[in-house]
Assembly symmetry: C2
């Protein structure tokens, strides 16, 4: 009776194998590739496992096999609606696979992202999903060292680490601004918060569209690094109006700001869209039911998450997608809030 070390006390594979009358390795195979066993043994192991209430030890499995069935996901925020849609796609897709998701929050910091990537490295994930394309050089080298399929999501750009699923924020903003210009608006403001790289690219789209129409005026850009809220939309509109009271339309970097702008207009008795047109971004559910209904740029965030998982899992199984960069595009949802001037 001189046990050197306390066993965990849980049922081990060996016990299951013993009860089933097979070798441990056969029992092991049952859990990984049941059809490799003869039917009789398969049943014997299954019933033995059930009888003993066997729960495999994932740490031992990972150590022995040198791999895990975890896909790491790095996103900048849990509060932002945008990411909850992406996450829903990710979790939905992962449930159809044998992989589980390990989520981490970078809080919009590329340094935090770097730290979290190192943490993931210690877990040897089978795949990785990261947000955006603006990783540090150090982060990129950690990702390359991890030697697993990686999908960058939310936007597309040149030079993918491995794979990409997203759309062009620049093009989307350009299209939205062009729509306002086509509707006859001239003084078009830009309201931005949480100026992450994707929002910056939307701003660039706005700039270029305005310049192309010779309407650009830097005074009509109001941005802040603080996180987005509906209330903030009102504040930013107030700022904009105090600077340039003659603006006729605003494009907001997201729908929360757009809703805040609508409320602020109502408070100030500014008629939408006659005195102020509004365009949002993301097309959250409430944009269609607001009064007046609000124009927005619809993006397929759920599909982005779903596709990222299917691409990564396919790549793990050796089926790299033929095209590593997938553009999911966007759709401008034109509603009452951006009706043509004087209509």
């Amino acid at each position: 009776m001189e046990r050197k070390r306390a066993k965990s006390g849980e049922i081990r594979l060996t016990e299951v194998a013993k009860l089933a009358g097979v070798s441990p390795i056969t029992a092991s195979r049952f859990f990984r590739n049941p059809q490799a066993l003869s039917l009789s043994k398969r049943e014997r192991v299954a019933s033995a496992a059930k009888e003993l209430g066997y729960v495999p030890n994932l740490a031992a499995r990972a150590l022995a096999s040198q791999r895990t069935e975890v896909i790491g996901v790095l996103i900048p925020s849990l509060t932002n609606n945008v990411f909850s849609d992406v996450l829903r796609g990710i979790y939905d897709a992962s449930e159809g696979s044998r992989y589980s998701i390990q989520l981490a929050n970078t809080r919009y910091s590329i340094l935090q992202e770097e730290k979290l990537l190192r943490l993931f490295q210690a877990q040897k994930p089978a795949g990785l999903i990261v947000t955006g394309i603006d990783q540090t050089a150090e982060s990129r080298s950690v990702m390359e060292a991890m030697n697993c399929p990686i999908a960058q999501i939310m936007e597309i750009g040149p030079d993918p680490v491995d794979m990409m699923v997203g759309f062009s924020h620049y093009d989307a903003a350009f299209a939205a601004v062009s729509h306002l210009i086509a509707q006859g608006f001239r003084r078009i403001g830009f309201l931005g918060a949480q100026m992450d790289p994707r929002v910056q690219r939307r701003l660039q789209g706005y700039r270029d569209a305005m310049k192309a129409a010779s309407l650009f005026d830097p005074r009509t850009i109001v941005t802040t690094p603080i996180p987005t809220t509906v209330t903030l939309g009102g504040t930013l509109l107030a700022d904009l109006l105090s600077r340039t009271p003659d603006v006729e339309a605003v494009i907001c970097v997201n729908d929360d700001l757009a809703l805040g702008v609508l409320f602020e207009c109502q408070r100030r008795h500014i008629s939408v869209p006659d005195d102020m047109a509004i365009v949002g971004f993301n097309d959250l559910d409430f944009m269609a039911s607001a009064v007046p209904s609000l124009t927005s740029v619809r993006t397929n965030r759920y599909e982005m998450g779903r596709r990222a998982v299917t691409m990564v899992t396919a790549a793990i199984d050796g089926n790299c997608p033929p095209e590593p960069v997938v553009d999911l595009g966007f759709e401008l949802m034109i509603r009452q809030s951006s009706s043509a001037r004087g209509v």
Copy 2:
């Protein structure tokens, strides 16, 4: 040259120890409890690890030590704003600790929850956070078998598995309805979606408050199991009005519905609050900036998540909280949408 098995190729602790000129176990201690080493060895190991770019193998660590530094979290939805606030609290608190979070989504299904609990069991988490108090008997027995601190969050009730952090949904709804009654409203409707157990308890609070004032009428209750959206709020109001056109006020089980109701009232030119008072639940940011501003029940969701983590981590370290059930309460935020009748 007859290696039986491929090594991972990564730097191992042994290599670090060799370079530092210490034994492996000393190097191991460096990563777990640095102050147990003399200063000179501490520095030697640190620089050796850095030089080699050592990344510890978590699977090996977990297997050898029979424990992990993972806290499992089970929530019903990623889309619902309510849970993103809780999650933010959870992730924020976990960053100050040595634990990492493993998140899983039950999709409001207690059977899915049971499955996920078994999955967690295989990972031997150091702690667990689960949503609500309505687990199946089987889930409860799995939780008890896991032998780790467990916090149930979002609500409180009798018979905790281990610990609880939440508030009484019944009391909150009762208070909200009582407020409307005190303001002079008599025909008060109830709009509910995604009728999870917590929402059911809010409905019970509504029922009892209405009965206590002899105002209860089952026809003014409109509920649906489908997930909440702003648009749905409008639909539910339409249903309610078609049944009982004389309602003067509605209490909505969440703020999205309340916003949808406001928009629907605007579409129908029903004046809020003169012809229709509105009360929501959760007090999301937009409730204060809506026009008119919307009354809601504020709950401290962020703190709920944060506290759950601190309670669980304290319990892991042997510091069980003196009181296992924490009631974070709620606050009725009274705004324009529920102003007294005729005021």
